[in-house]
């Protein structure tokens, strides 16, 4: 393994800026790594070495011409295949979009291009970001680099696996119910869900628009903050984008102290129902925070136990509406258009052939929850639960600065284990969903191993206090890495 692929994004950025190594050399090292290990991992749906190297050459030329470039210029990145890229196919993990070349770049993609990041390729995901294991991809599952018989989390499982297996120092993901934090937790890396509206959704293929949030994956907290800063900020192309300054996330990640900070342990997400190793690592993390000067108390958020059922009404409802755009008329797959069938018949045949089982389940569930006669009992109630969860957060943040919990109740499960049991699969997002419903910020950072598999610590902060989760995340990362003698990922078996 080339030494270049083990380095973090901040360090690579400095080496490239200092002329120690070129963007082309860094890109080549990562393309070689992909060629060598992705057969085992299946993190990528699309890699095109020529396009990647051309981008890297362009960055080297911009620098040679004296252009002032940002801290991540020349650093490679992998994009979840839900972000449109005008020069690479975008499928959202679905057969219905197989081979589709988008006519435009997502705002996240465009901003990172401008900042000089070099795109390595597009990563695998659960179809339309619906799932917690990446098994729902139409292009085969991605495997966890820690144990290739296990899932890498989902829906952004290609992005988490790519970073955890040193195929990319950075990647993007989207988090609708935990789809960044859960994969980060089970692969031993950092994953962050920014405040809703902090980064643009333009060009990010929609699943549940009131919940979908783009966010970063990295192998350390500072790298995640640098990526967060590079793609965030107001965008006129997204009417739900917040017109406010990006929270000072990089400064917070560099500072990383918790002295005097009030930390709340979410009572409802602790103890029974959690894998013993997960609880043990979480309790150790609490002790570390206390030893660093944080004041840790237990906080009750009683309505969080209703977050999962509310989410599985709200998200499918929004998905049933959003996915109506896949109508076989303007782009994507068309099936059965033999001249004898009506548009409606072609539409129904195409959608039946092009969507996988989980997407169909959620479209049907959402159609049910929104139908007259059931609306008040299901979607209406779920929206009221959403209010109660926001209120629980508001009350908690009057007492504490951040809330913490395990990111997931268990470590990575084996591929196939929950594939035909939707309710068991949905439990993977138990602890991450409240944040999506309330729209605030949360991060997952590695906090140790349970039976040889990574465990994540979730840190949650109020809306637009994204810097706080980086501050706490960096503090605990430094303390734990001192204890481990290096990053947790160094303990992963070699691929």
């Amino acid at each position: 393994m080339s030494e270049l692929v083990t380095k973090g994004a901040a360090e690579l950025g400095e080496l490239i800026a200092g002329g120690d190594v070129s963007a082309v050399e860094v890109a080549r090292a990562h393309l070689d790594r992909i060629a060598r290990v992705d057969g085992q991992v299946n993190a990528f749906l699309h890699v095109d070495a020529e396009t990647t190297l051309a981008q890297a050459r362009a960055v080297d030329e911009r620098r040679a011409a004296g252009e002032e470039l940002g801290p991540l210029a020349g650093v490679p990145i992998a994009h979840k295949d839900v972000f449109t890229t005008a020069d690479m196919p975008t499928t959202a993990g679905s057969k219905i979009l197989e081979g589709w070349l988008p006519p435009y770049d997502a705002t996240v993609t465009a901003r990172l291009r401008k900042a000089g990041l070099v795109i390595l390729g597009k990563t695998n995901m659960d179809e339309f970001a619906m799932g917690s294991s990446t098994e729902n991809s139409a292009y085969g599952p991605t495997r966890n680099p820690w144990d290739t018989s296990r899932i890498p989390g989902g829906s952004s499982g290609g992005s988490s696996a790519a970073v955890a297996s040193y195929q990319a120092p950075l990647s993007t993901g989207t988090d609708t119910g935990g789809s960044i934090r859960q994969p980060a937790a089970v692969t031993g890396i950092v994953g962050m869900k920014p405040t809703y509206g902090g980064a643009s959704r333009y060009g990010m293929i929609a699943f549940a628009s009131s919940l979908d949030t783009p966010g970063p994956f990295a192998r350390n907290v500072l790298d995640a903050a640098l990526l967060h800063e590079a793609f965030s900020g107001h965008d006129a192309m997204d009417s739900t984008s917040i017109d406010a300054a990006v929270p000072p996330v990089v400064e917070a990640a560099r500072r990383g102290d918790v002295n005097g900070l009030r930390v709340g342990v979410v009572k409802e997400f602790h103890g029974e129902g959690y894998e013993p190793g997960v609880t043990a690592r979480f309790d150790e993390a609490v002790e570390v925070l206390e030893s660093l000067g944080a004041k840790v108390v237990e906080v009750s958020c009683p309505n969080f136990t209703y977050a999962l059922p509310a989410y599985y009404l709200i998200a499918p409802s929004e998905c049933s509406s959003n996915l109506a755009r896949f109508d076989a008329m303007r782009y994507g797959l068309r099936v059965g258009d033999d001249g004898s069938r009506s548009a409606e018949e072609v539409m129904a045949l195409t959608r039946a052939a092009g969507f996988g089982p989980e997407v169909k389940r959620r479209i049907m569930l959402g159609t049910y929850a929104l139908s007259s006669g059931y609306y008040d009992a299901y979607y209406g109630k779920a929206q009221q639960v959403r209010t109660l969860i926001k209120r629980d957060f508001e009350a908690a943040f009057e007492q504490v600065d951040v809330l913490i919990s395990p990111t997931t109740p268990t470590t990575a499960f084996t591929i196939g284990e929950r594939a035909d049991d939707p309710m068991a699969m949905y439990l993977a997002d138990l602890c991450t969903i409240p944040t999506n419903l309330a729209g605030n910020a949360a991060i997952s950072v590695p906090c140790g191993l349970s039976d040889g598999l990574p465990v994540g610590l979730q840190i949650m902060a109020p809306v637009l206090a994204d810097d706080r989760v980086y501050r706490v995340g960096a503090a605990i990362e430094r303390a734990l890495e001192d204890r481990w003698g290096g990053p947790l990922l160094a303990q992963a078996p070699a691929l």
């Binding site: 059922p309 782009y331 959608r351 039946a352 049910y368 109630k381 009221q384 959403r386 419903l437 309330a438």
Partner: protein, 99 residues
Amino acid sequence: MSAITRDEVAHLARLSRLALGDDELDHLAAQLDQIISAVARVQEVAAEDIPPTSHALPLTNVYRADEVRPSLAPEQALAGAPAAEEQRFRVPRILGEEA
């Protein structure tokens, strides 16, 4: 008692524009029944006087200036079309479906 009948599931498939086979409907009916029974827990919350939240942000009516801006050329807009003709999307017949 099941939360949803197979007939209802078949009706939902029609509303959702999904041409599903009998096996798929049988399988989905059982799973949807299980999921709906579980998510019905939201009804336990005594929430008579609780206002609904549809969105995390309290934003309303975000407008942009009504200015002409560059947009996709017809060839770009049609590049992904399953079928195109004379700079238009060609679609199967949409009229006379009742005939």
